[in-house]
């Protein structure tokens, strides 16, 4: 807390406390309580209070009233407050989302890589499938595409968005996953 250079500009020195009128003395005592006096002036006031029990009692009253203010509790900030501010000034949700998407620029290449990985995995599965009887064996690429086309939109989207997860999955687990599917079984 900063201290004014001259804490008692209207009252003279704190050593003259006894000569101050009531209002001036109160102002000085309040500044003392608020920690706004220099260390030297605070010591003078403190010494003066030791010799003036009436004034000391007054100071204690002020202090207790001030302490009671701790019962004035604050309320939490509404969860949507910041969002309402952003809406009001036109920082739109889409714009802010855009920032997130720009930050996640790597998502698109990752999704492409995941699609390729899925295609390769499916091709390996089909080529190594029982007896190569499946028609997909003759035209694996086409069939992988058709398989991907068969995947419902929401699942395909999920698949591509989680490309980074897919990339960390090894080929065996991909095969296992596909074994569970009936799409290629026929």
């Amino acid at each position: 807390m900063s201290k004014p250079n001259n804490p008692t500009p209207n009252h003279g020195s704190p050593t003259d406390l006894g000569l101050l009128d009531l209002e001036e003395r109160r102002e000085l005592l309040v500044a003392y309580l608020d920690g706004e006096l220099s260390a030297e002036d605070a010591l003078r006031v403190s010494t003066w209070l030791d010799d003036n029990p009436g004034a000391l009692r007054e100071v204690e009253h002020y202090r207790h009233a001030w302490d009671l203010l701790e019962h004035y509790e604050d309320e939490p900030v509404p969860a949507d407050f910041a969002q309402r501010v952003f809406d009001a000034v036109g920082i739109s949700h889409e714009k802010r989302e855009g920032k997130v998407l720009r930050l996640a620029w790597y998502r698109q290449p990752l999704a492409t890589a995941a699609a390729v990985l899925v295609a390769v995995g499916a091709t390996i599965f089909v080529m190594g499938g029982p007896g190569g009887e499946s028609p997909t064996a003759q035209a694996p690429t086409t069939d992988v595409v058709s398989v991907l086309q068969d995947v419902p939109d929401d699942q395909l989207r999920e698949l591509l968005l989680n490309a980074d997860v897919l990339l960390s999955v090894d080929a065996d687990s991909i095969d296992a996953d596909f074994d569970d599917e009936t799409v290629l079984g026929g």
Partner: protein
């Protein structure tokens, strides 16, 4: 020898915001929303039903008037100053609304022969009729006591007591002088002492044991 002042983190944010970086504004909102709301609530007290709206207006003004911020000022103090202005506008609006209602009443029912003036300093220690239902008696009395203080005193008190502002910061936020702040705080303390008389006396009696 005086070294050039080093800008603090808030000043850097404000500069970025002034240069067009809206994400800096977002950081400022998240950082200061609690302080602004708290100041609005305690300054406006129970007078305004739309305290959140006033706080929201503060940030809208900050957004629109960002270029009025001068880098030498503390961002927090500048923000307090914007908040104080928004609250004063709200107080004026409520007062005008009240006057309109009173005028309408007078036009219909005649002069109620009661002067408008500052609230009488009743003893806030004696709880209001509904207070008993609100729980903690001291908390209710304290809230009422702060509400009953005249506006300027209340603002000086809130900035000092709840926001830890120095006299100089309060003076800057209120666009007044340090001696004026001193005077306001002295009267606020004196009024608070009267308003909370019963609790102050009780605390005074237990103080020697409590070591307060």
């Amino acid at each position: 020898m005086t070294a050039p002042p080093i800008p603090d983190a808030d000043q850097v944010l404000m500069r970025r915001f002034q240069e067009g970086d809206e994400s800096a504004f977002e950081v400022l909102v998240h950082k200061y929303q609690g302080l602004v709301l708290s100041l609005c609530r305690r300054y406006l007290g129970s007078r305004s039903p739309g305290i959140d709206d006033v706080a929201q207006q503060v940030f809208v003004r900050v957004f629109r008037s960002k270029m009025t911020y001068k880098p030498k000022a503390k961002v927090k103090t500048w923000l307090y100053s914007v908040t104080v202005n928004a609250c004063l506008n709200e107080i004026r609006r409520l007062r005008a609304e009240k006057n309109r209602r009173v005028n309408s009443f007078t036009a219909v029912f005649g002069d109620p022969s009661r002067e408008e003036g500052p609230p009488a300093f009743e003893d806030a220690s004696s709880p209001a009729p509904a207070a008993g239902m609100e729980g903690d008696e001291v908390a209710v009395a304290v809230r009422r006591a702060v509400d009953l203080l005249p506006e300027q005193q209340r603002l000086a008190l809130v900035l000092t007591r709840f926001h830890g502002c120095s006299y100089e910061d309060v003076a800057e936020s209120m666009k007044t002088t340090v001696p004026a702040v001193k005077s306001l705080l002295t009267r606020a303390r004196e009024n608070l002492r009267k308003l909370l008389g019963r609790f102050v006396e009780a605390q005074q009696q237990t103080a020697p044991e409590g070591g307060s």
